[in-house]
């Protein structure tokens, strides 16, 4: 929890009302973002994203599994988030469980798309190896290393970067005569296939403080929020997911306004992230 005096609270609220926040940013301005790829050698893809003092790591691991009966032509993707107590004392013990679950659910909702796969970050049918028999299970894990607000946006950005860094080993299937038998698969350790990550959305959280809303809130600013709306936006300007936090109700017109602002900011954020990814890949 953030302990703030009455004066500090007024300062934060007043600054937001005047479009000049405590760290000199405007209301719709992100903090400086820094991106690093390939930070976890054991994973198929990984990334570290720093957004001001917020730092998160995302890793993507791929394992061969069996597709579910209902969707024999699709692979599986699961997203989990862990909040380490090293980041903040409130993440110790059970306190982190609820928060981690909330973040995981929000990410799943924003990145995995609808039941039919519309708007999903990853095309699940691209993960299939042998129809109904073998598919890739993708485990996406997020870790909060240091927490200074806006964790959801940082995690989504880290996942986007990690996916662009991910190489899935090429699989050679030896077709046996009997179709019922388990097919033999030979996982190559030299050839890797890259994902098409162009449709992976980013999440933009608009935090409402007083009458105005801001992007990329620090934890001090988050402590003053009445409600927050997280919108996930893809490159084509489509909305892929939306969640609301905070108890206070919102006027419908404000909600529509927030969505269109988030769409606009999201496009800018995607282009910033793209150039950061290119720079990180060049550096590697």
């Amino acid at each position: 929890m953030v302990g703030l005096s009455v004066g500090e609270k007024h300062f934060i609220r007043g600054g937001i009302a005047q479009d000049l926040r405590a760290d000199g940013r405007r209301r719709l301005q992100f903090r400086a973002i820094s991106v690093e790829t390939g930070v976890i050698p054991q994973a198929n893809g990984s990334a570290r994203v720093r957004l001001g003092a917020t730092e998160v790591i995302a890793s993507v691991k791929a394992e061969l599994g069996k597709p579910s009966i209902l969707h024999p032509d699709k692979g599986k993707v699961s997203i989990f988030v862990d909040c380490s107590p090293t980041a903040a004392p409130m993440f110790e013990g059970r306190g982190s469980e609820e928060f981690s679950a909330e973040l995981s659910v929000a990410l799943q909702r924003c990145l995995l798309g609808g039941k039919s796969g519309a708007g999903a970050a990853i095309d699940l049918s691209s993960l299939i190896v042998v129809d109904g028999k073998v598919c890739w299970d993708l485990y996406i894990d997020g870790l909060v290393v240091s927490s200074d607000g806006n964790l959801l946006d940082a995690l989504a950005a880290a996942i986007k970067v990690a996916l662009s860094d991910t190489g899935i080993p090429k699989v050679n299937v030896s077709l046996s005569a009997a179709t019922d038998e388990e097919p033999e698969v030979d996982v190559s350790d030299e050839e890797f296939l890259q994902f098409d990550t162009s449709s992976v959305p980013v999440i933009v959280t608009l935090t409402k403080v007083g009458k105005h809303y801001i992007v990329d809130a620090t934890s001090e600013e988050e402590s003053q929020m009445s409600s927050a709306v997280s919108v996930s936006v893809n490159r084509h300007g489509q909305i892929c997911g939306l969640t609301k936090r905070g108890g206070a109700g919102l006027d419908p017109s404000v909600v529509f306004d927030m969505i269109s602002v988030a769409k606009h900011v999201g496009q800018q954020f995607i282009s910033v992230l793209d150039s950061e990814i290119a720079a990180a890949e060049a550096a590697e």
Binding site: E98, R109, G114, K115, A118, I239, K244, G249, V255
Partner: protein
Amino acid sequence: MSAAATTGTYSPAAAAGEKRRERKEELRRHLAEDADWPRADGRSFHDCRPAFMQTGPTTAASGSAYAEFGKTKVIVSVFGPRESKKAMMYSDIGRLNCNVSYTTFATPIRGQFAFSFQGTDNKEYSAMLHKTLEGAVMLHTFPKTTVDVFALVLESGGSDLPIIISCASLALADAGIMMYDLVTSVSVSCFGKNIIIDPTSDEEAWQDGSLLVAYMPARKEITQLTLTGEWSDGKITNAVELCMDACSKLCDILRELLKDASSLAE
């Protein structure tokens, strides 16, 4: 199908899965393409299922409500306000404790939500219910105490969460907990360019996207909004307005119901 046919052993899951999939492919195709295709239960795209709601099914609780929308059956009990647990820290506003659980026979596959999804779906719905209601309940009217809201899904037939939310707000009103307004909730599914309201579980399983709105009609405030799938701006506006309209109508029904219940009690 081939596995079930050639081996000759009884594996209902595989066969049922195949049949279900065929049926749903057809359903999906129709819902995505035709604007006037009647839904499986004969409704048009913008019709809600017939609803039955009642207050006071459980006598031990401070307030309770039962809701039945088509196949979906939900019961919600509200206990309290009662003293917060000793371990809780002092709080000058009241606490709202929400819990959503499924019976093991709520779903076609036994215990689908109660066991295998434990830790996700129940907790997810509990958290969602809490987030939706906390903005509507006047928590400052019962400091140092807790109000428990327990929801039990007897049968899951689609649009479970919105029905739990509406039913919970009816139960809270029945318990006499002070609220700014009744919260009602409605969800829509999107299929291609079409939007259908109050989806059944079959429709939910193949939707392209979903949108849930929880709304306080008298205050004109949205307390919860979630969305999955891929949506354009205009479609979101349409869907939200459709939901808000349905929420207002549902809220009028709840109000009438509460009035009838209180006049009966006198």
